[in-house]
C-alpha cells in the first residue's frame, strides 16, 4: 500500500524525522517516497490516499523555505473545499515554544487540509525544542501511535523480515575522474552570487568575552537587495576537524581515506539524490564541504554506527541511546554537553574499526546554510554582515564552536565567497514619510543599519523621509558598541534620533526597555499621530517581551492596541535564539 511522507525542514531535523517515519513504514509493508514539499508536485495531492506531513516552524511562525511554494498553492482560494475528501493524513509539527507563534506552520497546514476535506487519522503532533528531550519528547510516541492506528484500522501488518533500509548506494571509483571543487562551495538549489571579502574585522574589544565580526563584501556582478534582506551562506568544516576526522579513519586502518573517490546514487527509484552528491566526490571533499562534522549526532547516526559493531558493550550502548528507555542518557550524553559527531565517533572505537563507506554516507548529516541580516544598504556599495562568533563552554573538554560563525571568522580579506540573497521577514511601510522606531540591541542592530542607510540615501536624493528613531543596547561603551562610528555620525548630523543603553557601565543595569519607558510619550505620539512602525530585532530571550511591555505602557497600557498594531504589521519582531 502506498504511503507518502512529505516534509518541510529548515535545518534538516524535520527531514530526519520524516526519513525515520519512511524507514519504519517499510517495516509495515508500505511503499512510497519521502520528499521535501518542494520536490513534490502539489497538484498530485488530490490523488493521494495516505500522506504523513512532518513540518517544522522556523523563526517566529514561519514555514521552512522548502515549504513556501507548496504552502502558497494550498492557500489558493479557488481550491474547492471538498478537494481532499479522499485523503487521509497525519501531521507532525516541530517547533519551539519560546516563540509566540509556536508550531504555526504545522497548525495552519493541519487546519487547511481539514478545510479542504481531508481526514486526520491522528491528532496533530506538536514537538517542542523546549522539552527536555527536544522533539523526541513528542515524536517518538506520536510515531508509535501512528503505526498503532494504521495497523488497527487497515490491512497492514508488521513484516517478519526487518530489512535494513539505506538511502544511498556508494561505489568506489578506481579510475578517478576530474573532480570539481568549485561546485562544492555552493550546493543549494537557489543560485548564488560571487562575493569578494574586503574586510573582516573584530568589532568588540580584545578583552570582551565575545568576538563579533564585521564582514564587508563586494561583488563584481550587479546585485541589489532590500533593507531587511538576509545573506545565506554555506559554511565549511575547519581544517582541524577535517584533519581529526581522517586521523580517526587512519587510526582504525579502514580501507578508505581522504583520497578515495566515490559515486553516490539513490537506492530507491523515488528518492532524489541530494545536490552535493550529484557528481563523484573524494572523501576529502565530502569531509570539508558536505558533511557537518561538528553537528550533534541524531539517533539515526548512532543506529547506523551500531550496524557492524562487533563489540557487545558498544553496540548495546549505541542501540540503548536509540530506545525510549535510553532517552534520558542520550540527552545527558549528547544534547546537554553539545557533543559533536566527531567526538562521538572517537568514543566508540570498536564500532569505528568496522565502519564501511556505505555506513559513512548513510550516517553523515549534510552541512546546512545559515542566514545573516544584511547590515548595509545596497547604495552604500558594500554588503556588510555583523556576526557574533559562537564559542562557549559545556562540560566538554574543548569549547563548543559554531560552525558557520567560526568559518566566517577565519575568512581572509581577498577571499571569494558564494552566497545567496533572500528576503527577510520585515515589512517596511510604503510611504517613506512614515516614522520608523527601531529597537536592535547587540547584533540586532544589523538590519536597522540597512534601512537607516537606505532612508538617508533617499533623503540625499531629495525625497522626503520620516523620522528615524533607533534604540541600541550593549554591555560596555568601550567594549561591544557595534557601529559606534555610524551612531556618532547620526547623532552629530541629527539625521537619526539615537538612544543607547550600556547595561554594565554603571551600578544598575540599563537596558533598551528602560530608555523606551523614558520617552514613552514621545514614541506614543509618533505611533498614534504619524502612523509610526515599530521594529524589534535581536536575541529572543527576555528582550522582546520587555520591549513589548514598555510599549504597551507607553500606549497607556492598552494591550489591545498593541495586538492591533501587531496584526496590522505596524509592530514587528524578528528575533533569533
Amino acid at each position: 500500500m502506498r504511503i507518502l511522507v512529505l516534509y518541510g525542514s529548515q535545518t534538516g531535523t524535520a527531514q530526519d524525522v520524516a526519513e525515520q517515519i519512511w524507514r519504519e513504514s517499510r517495516q509495515w509493508g508500505f511503499q512510497g517516497p519521502v520528499l521535501s514539499l518542494e520536490d513534490y508536485n502539489m497538484q498530485q495531492l488530490i490523488e493521494e490516499r495516505l500522506v504523513i506531513f512532518v513540518v517544522a516552524t522556523t523563526g517566529d511562525g514561519m514555514e521552512p523555505d522548502n515549504m513556501k511554494q507548496a504552502w502558497r498553492f494550498l492557500l489558493k482560494r479557488s481550491l474547492p473545499s471538498s478537494s481532499l475528501d479522499g485523503l487521509q493524513f497525519a501531521c507532525l509539527g516541530l517547533g519551539d515554544s519560546s516563540y509566540p507563534k509556536f508550531n504555526y506552520a504545522a497548525k495552519k497546514l493541519h487546519k487547511r487540509l481539514l478545510n479542504l476535506g481531508a481526514k486526520s487519522i491522528c491528532p496533530l503532533g506538536l514537538c517542542d525544542d523546549q522539552h527536555d528531550y527536544g522533539h523526541l519528547g513528542t515524536s517518538l510516541a506520536w510515531i508509535a501511535d501512528l503505526w498503532q492506528t494504521l495497523s488497527s484500522t487497515s490491512a497492514v501488518r508488521k513484516q517478519p523480515e526487518q530489512e535494513i533500509v539505506k538511502r544511498w548506494k556508494v561505489r568506489v571509483l578506481e579510475q578517478q575522474p576530474a573532480l570539481s571543487e568549485e561546485r562544492l562551495h555552493w550546493t543549494q538549489r537557489q543560485e548564488a552570487h560571487v562575493f569578494k571579502l574586503i574586510e573582516n574585522t573584530r568589532t568588540t574589544a580584545e578583552d570582551h568575552f565575545q568576538d563579533v565580526r564585521l564582514l564587508r563584501l563586494s561583488s563584481a556582478q550587479t546585485i541589489t537587495w532590500q533593507p531587511g534582506d538576509v545573506l545565506e551562506v554555506q559554511p565549511q568544516n575547519s581544517r582541524e576537524n577535517v584533519q581529526e576526522f581522517f586521523d580517526l579513519l587512519k587510526e582504525h586502518q579502514l580501507d578508505f581515506d581522504a583520497s578515495t573517490v566515490v559515486e553516490v546514487s539513490s537506492a530507491h527509484a523515488d528518492l532524489p539524490l541530494p545536490l552535493p552528491y550529484a557528481a563523484p566526490i573524494s572523501l576529502q571533499q565530502a569531509a570539508r564541504y558536505i558533511w557537518d562534522l561538528s553537528a550533534r549526532p541524531r539517533q539515526r547516526l548512532l543506529e547506523v554506527l551500531a550496524q557492524n559493531c562487533e563489540d557487545e558493550m558498544e553496540r548495546e550502548k549505541l542501540l540503548e541511546f536509540c530506545s525510549a528507555e535510553g532517552l534520558d542518557d542520550l540527552i545527558a550524553y549528547v544534547n546537554r554537553p553539545r557533543r559533536t559527531l566527531l567526538e562521538l565517533l572517537s568514543d566508540f572505537r570498536h564500532a569505528m574499526s568496522k565502519l564501511t563507506l556505505s555506513q559513512l554516507f548513510e550516517m553523515m548529516p549534510l552541512i546546512q546554510t545559515r542566514s545573516f541580516s544584511i547590515a548595509s544598504a545596497a547604495a552604500s556599495g558594500t554588503l556588510d554582515l555583523l556576526v557574533a562568533v559562537v564559542n562557549y563552554k559545556t562540560i566538554m573538554h574543548t569549547p563548543r564552536l559554531g560552525l558557520c560563525s567560526n568559518w566566517l571568522k577565519g575568512l581572509q580579506a581577498g577571499e571569494e565567497l558564494r552566497a545567496a540573497i533572500k528576503p527577510g521577514t520585515m515589512n517596511w511601510p510604503k510611504e517613506p514619510e512614515t516614522p520608523l522606531i527601531m529597537i536592535g540591541p547587540g547584533t540586532g542592530i544589523a538590519p536597522f543599519r540597512s534601512i537607516i542607510q537606505e532612508r538617508l540615501h533617499q533623503q540625499q536624493l531629495g525625497h522626503d523621509t520620516g523620522p528615524l528613531v533607533v534604540f541600541f543596547g550593549c554591555r560596555n561603551k568601550a567594549k561591544d558598541y557595534h557601529f559606534m562610528e555610524d551612531f556618532k555620525a547620526w547623532q552629530v548630523d541629527q539625521s537619526v534620533e539615537v538612544h543607547v543603553a550600556f547595561s554594565r557601565d554603571q551600578e544598575n543595569k540599563v537596558y533598551v526597555q528602560h530608555l523606551i519607558k523614558e520617552c514613552g510619550a514621545h514614541l506614543a505620539k509618533l505611533i498614534r499621530e504619524q502612523n509610526a512602525y515599530v521594529y524589534v530585532a535581536g536575541s529572543s530571550n527576555n528582550m522582546p517581551k520587555a520591549v513589548r511591555e514598555a510599549f504597551i505602557e507607553a500606549l497607556d497600557n492598552d494591550a489591545l492596541h498593541m495586538e492591533q498594531l501587531i496584526k496590522q504589521r505596524r509592530y514587528q519582531e524578528e528575533t533569533w535564539a
Binding site: 497538484q43 495531492l45 488530490i46 495516505l50 502558497r72 492557500l75 489558493k76 482560494r77 479557488s78 473545499s81 471538498s82 478537494s83 475528501d85 479522499g86 487521509q88 515554544s97 507563534k101 509556536f102 504555526y104 497548525k107 495552519k108 487546519k111 487547511r112 481539514l114 478545510n115 476535506g117 481526514k119 486526520s120 487519522i121 506538536l126 517542542d128 523546549q130 522539552h131 527536555d132 519528547g137 484500522t153 487497515s154 568575552f209 565575545q210 558493550m313 550502548k317 541511546f321 534520558d328 545527558a332 550524553y333 554537553p337 572517537s346 568514543d347 566508540f348 572505537r349 557574533a388 562557549y392 563552554k393 559545556t394 562540560i395 566538554m396 573538554h397 559554531g402 496584526k567 535564539a577
Partner: protein
C-alpha cells in the same frame, strides 16, 4: 419553525441584537429543546465539540461564513437553517453544497434556505478505506501564480494558538538549577564552567568504576575524565595539565 419540533439541541447564531430574546424564545418553543445562542463575530468554533447540534439556525448568513465548520458541529443528519440571508440564494446554496451539505433547498416563500448533514459520520473508528474516492473534484486546476489566496491568519483560532504547559516539558530532576541556555552568549555558561574547575582537582585521580578509558558514554557521573574523549590504546591515564589551572 414548526418543522423543527423535537430537535433537542439547537444553536442560534445571531447578528442583529434587536429583539434577539424574542427570536430565541420562538425557536425554543418550536423545538421544545435547548437553544445555545452565539453572536456570529464571537462564535469560536473551538468551544463546541464536533457533532453537538441537531439544528443550527443562522440569521444574516453570508457566502463567506464557515459552513464546513458548521457541518462539523452538526450531528449526522443535522439541519442547517438560514434566514434573512445575504446574497443570491443560488450562490449560497452552492457554497453550502460544496461544504458538504446535502438536500440543499430554498423556500422562496419564507425566504429561507435549509440543508442537512449527511447521515454518516466522518472520523469514526470504522475501517479506513483507501478505495478510489467518489468526490466530484478530481483535478486541481491552476491558473497561474497570481491567483487569490485565503488569509492564512484566519486559519487559527484562539485555542489553536495555545502554547504547551511549561511543566509538561520537564523530565529530568535538574530543574531550578542555574542552567545556561543553548547558545549562551551572555557568559553564564562560562561562569558555570569556571565555578566547576575551581573546585579542587586531584593530580592522580582515582577511578571509582574502572571505566574511565571508555569514553563518556560509559563513565560514571563522578568520573574526573568527563568531557574528555575515550583513551587511545597505550595512552596514559592522566588529567590534562590545563584542567588543573583555573580559567580565570
Amino acid at each position: 419553525m414548526e418543522q423543527f419540533k423535537g430537535l433537542q439541541k439547537s444553536l442560534y447564531i445571531w447578528t442583529d441584537s434587536a429583539e434577539l430574546d424574542k427570536r430565541v424564545e420562538t425557536l425554543k418553543a418550536a423545538t421544545g429543546g435547548e437553544v445555545a445562542v452565539e453572536n456570529v463575530h464571537r462564535l469560536s468554533f473551538s468551544s463546541y465539540a464536533n457533532s453537538s447540534f441537531d439544528l443550527i439556525v443562522i440569521e444574516c448568513a453570508q457566502l463567506t461564513d464557515n459552513y464546513v465548520k458548521l457541518l462539523h458541529m452538526l450531528k449526522p443528519s443535522g439541519i442547517l437553517h438560514l434566514f434573512a440571508y445575504i446574497g443570491p440564494a443560488g450562490s449560497l446554496l452552492q457554497e453550502i453544497k460544496l461544504s458538504g451539505f446535502i438536500n440543499c433547498r430554498e423556500d422562496a416563500v419564507a425566504n429561507t434556505l435549509t440543508a442537512e448533514k449527511p447521515g454518516y459520520e466522518t472520523g469514526s473508528s470504522a475501517r479506513l478505506s483507501f478505495a478510489k474516492k467518489t468526490s466530484s473534484v478530481n483535478v486541481w486546476k491552476i491558473s497561474g501564480d497570481d491567483e487569490e489566496l485565503i488569509d492564512e491568519e484566519e486559519l487559527l483560532d484562539e485555542e489553536d494558538k495555545q502554547k504547551p504547559d511549561p511543566a509538561g516539558l520537564r523530565v529530568c530532576s535538574t530543574t531550578g538549577k542555574r542552567k545556561a541556555c543553548k547558545n549562551c552568549s551572555c557568559g553564564l555558561a562560562e561562569e558555570l564552567e569556571s565555578e566547576k574547575t575551581t573546585k579542587t582537582v586531584t593530580e592522580n585521580a582515582k577511578s571509582s568504576c574502572g571505566n574511565c578509558y571508555l569514553g563518556d558514554a560509559f563513565r560514571c557521573s563522578t568520573c574526573p575524565y568527563l568531557g574528555m574523549p575515550a583513551f587511545k590504546p597505550g595512552e596514559k591515564v592522566q588529567l590534562a595539565d590545563n584542567l588543573l589551572k583555573s580559567d580565570i
